[in-house]
């Protein structure tokens, strides 16, 4: 199969959906040029009315997504860095997430908020967040976090076709990663985790960029433990079943989460597993997350965001 980079896969998903449905449009700061390459070139094909460069106004951009989606459009709002969701938080977390619900479920809001997540680039606290729990604490939103080009394309297409507001987080560490992407149209259903590597001793759940380290650690430790690695792909809806099946098999669970530890996805998933499979656990669940600090600039970053050694240590501990 042909290979594409992650950013190209995103670009292609946008192009195909723009082509397929004239109600789809893209809006954001400089999307005609494209900060991450994810939207580059689309304006040549679809014109400035559908690839809309906007003023530096995340609040209005998000408002456009909310408003236009109620009238049958399928806006994709490019927020650049996920950290910037904080500057349009009312629009995303109170309006997009809750509008349908609070008006009795009579409307649909098919809009996508796409944003770049992740650290490891020494960009500091306002360009490095991975704010999964910020999204997850707002029911009404869906959350997709692809970890390879195939998923990047398939999940974005699903996001655009979904009749609900979807937050689509793409990771800066994956932008240049290549992988097979079919030429034919395909989508990836939300709420279907994928087992990236099979194993019998310990389950590692690792969304987005964390998958790399899970695989690397599994490989590194393969003579000692058989590690099963699961990528949930969407965090809402979450495919808890696949995770439970694995945990029932292995009895051990490590959860990786690049987001700040406190009140994060890792704690939530651990709690759900405890609620459903407490008796299947042979050891306490371990989590490896960003420590409870802002993300520092410079080399100090490494003391805050998850490191590969921590992943290995967690697997060893849970197996000890």
């Amino acid at each position: 199969m042909r290979e594409l980079m992650y950013l190209q896969a995103i670009n292609e998903a946008l192009a195909e959906e723009l082509e397929r449905d004239e109600k789809v449009f893209l809006i954001g700061e400089g999307v005609q040029t494209g900060t991450f390459g994810t939207t580059t070139g689309l304006v040549d094909r679809f014109g400035p009315e559908r690839i809309m460069d906007s003023p530096l106004s995340e609040t209005a951009i998000a408002g456009v997504a909310v408003g236009a989606s109620m009238l049958g459009y399928r806006p994709v709002a490019d927020l650049m860095f996920a950290d910037f969701m904080y500057v349009c938080a009312d629009e995303i977390f109170l309006k997009a997430a809750q509008w349908r619900f609070m008006h009795g479920g009579l409307q649909t809001l098919p809009c996508v908020f796409m944003a770049n997540i992740g650290a490891y680039r020494k960009l500091g606290n306002e360009h490095s967040q991975c704010p999964f729990s910020l999204v997850l604490r707002s029911p009404g939103l869906k959350l997709a976090a692809p970890s390879d080009p195939y998923d990047a394309k398939g999940l974005l297409k699903t996001a655009i076709r979904d009749n609900n507001p979807v937050v689509y987080f793409f990771h800066k560490g994956l932008l240049g990663m290549s992988g097979p992407v079919p030429e034919e149209d395909y989508t990836i259903p939300f709420g279907q985790a994928v087992v990236r590597r099979e194993g019998d001793d310990v389950t590692v759940v690792a969304p987005s960029f964390m998958g790399f380290w899970a695989i690397a650690a599994a490989e590194e430790l393969k003579d000692r433990f058989s590690v099963e690695v699961i990528d949930p792909r969407t965090l809402e809806p979450l495919d808890l079943d696949t995770i439970l099946v694995s945990v029932r098999k292995t009895g051990h669970l490590v959860i990786l989460d690049e987001d700040t530890e406190r009140c994060g996805f890792a704690a939530e998933l651990a709690m759900q597993v405890m609620e459903k499979a407490f008796d299947d656990l042979d050891a306490p669940i371990k989590r490896v997350c960003a420590a409870n600090y802002p993300i520092p600039g410079g080399v100090m970053e490494k003391y805050v965001i998850p490191q590969p050694e921590q992943v290995m240590a967690a697997i060893e501990e849970v197996m000890a």
Binding site: E49, M70, F101, L106
Partner: protein, 326 residues
């Protein structure tokens, strides 16, 4: 726009109905029938009624919070029945009893409203962009207060609307106070319409107690928007007769609002003013006016009976259905 006799009567009828339903809502809140809270429209009915009565069905309105949108919905031709059933928490309400003071009537251009003041602006721009894209000539009319105009959301939305010449009309219901804060303590200039100059948007200031003046100004701005000429700003100087919300003290700076000031304001009651004007001009007779009042009261009574007979919702399955669309 030239208003025919029936237009004027319709305008008057809508004003009277708004007042009647608003008074009923206050009553029902005291009785525990209307849930949560209520921010009466009394004294400030004209901007909503005047600004909405002559819109097209498919024009879209973002209602201001006064009367929780009663003036705007009534102006827009929406029966307040399902809205008030909703506000009373009944299963027959517009949102099945789970919206509280939130209701939508999409076929009449009422697509809902948020509870954070100032969130009206970005959403309205989204509607207006969609309206421009779909080319059906729809116009969005966004109503908001003087306090709302302090929110930064205004700036981003107004800029975008002006830049892209979106079909939206910004109607400011300036009643001179935001909850407990008088406008002198919230904005440095006399007229909020100065905000429009930052974006080169046309702006007018009208007597917001004169429902016709409002209707004329908004209609002109709507026509302009419909012709693709972009947004404009209509500032209506209006009034709030009572406290911000039922149960709130009617204070500014921690002191009761000056009763003489309120007396003054009440002397310019928009319903009474329009009534005398129409009587004077012979558009209405005393009997007409009384009939209209009686009809409004009958409508209120009918609505109340409907609400009283309606059950509360009790199906937790509603939650999932409302949360995500298929």
């Amino acid at each position: 726009m030239k208003f025919e006799k029936e237009d004027l009567v319709k305008l008057y009828r809508n004003l009277v109905r708004t007042r009647a339903f608003d008074e009923a809502a206050v009553r029902w809140l005291a009785q525990g029938k209307l849930l949560a809270f209520y921010h009466p429209a009394q004294g400030g009915e004209a901007p909503g009624v005047g600004g909405c009565t002559f819109l097209r069905d498919d024009d879209i309105v973002y209602p201001h919070l006064r009367g929780h949108g009663l003036p705007h919905m009534i102006g827009k031709g929406i029966s307040p029945k399902l809205y008030l059933a909703e506000h009373c928490g009944k299963a027959t309400g517009a949102a099945g009893g789970m919206g509280g003071f939130h209701s939508v009537f999409p076929e009449k251009g009422a697509l809902g409203a948020g509870g954070t003041i100032g969130s009206c602006f970005p959403v309205s721009v989204g509607w207006a962009l969609a309206a421009k894209k779909n080319g059906r000539g729809q116009v969005v009319v966004c109503f908001f207060g003087d306090g709302s105009a302090n929110r930064g959301t205004w700036h981003e939305a107004a800029n975008m609307a002006a830049l892209w010449k979106l079909p939206v009309v910004w109607v400011c219901e300036n009643n001179g106070v935001a909850q407990f804060v008088p406008i002198e303590d919230a904005y440095p200039l006399e007229d909020l319409s100065n905000l429009a100059s930052a974006f080169g948007m046309p702006a007018v200031v009208v007597d917001g107690q004169d429902v016709m003046a409002v209707a004329e100004a908004v209609t002109a701005a709507v026509e302009r928007a419909r012709e693709g000429k972009g947004p404009s700003f209509v500032e209506c100087k209006t009034a709030r007769f009572g406290p911000h919300g039922i149960g709130n003290p009617d204070k500014v700076h921690g002191k009761d609002r000056d009763p003489r000031q309120i007396e003054e304001l009440k002397r310019r009651d928009p319903v009474a003013l329009f009534r005398s004007r129409l009587l004077e001009q012979g558009v209405l007779t005393e009997e007409d006016a009384e009939r209209i009042s009686r009809e409004a009261e009958a409508e209120v009574a009918e609505t109340e009976a409907f609400i009283d007979q309606s059950p509360f919702p009790d199906d937790p399955g509603m939650l999932d259905r409302a949360l995500y669309a298929e």
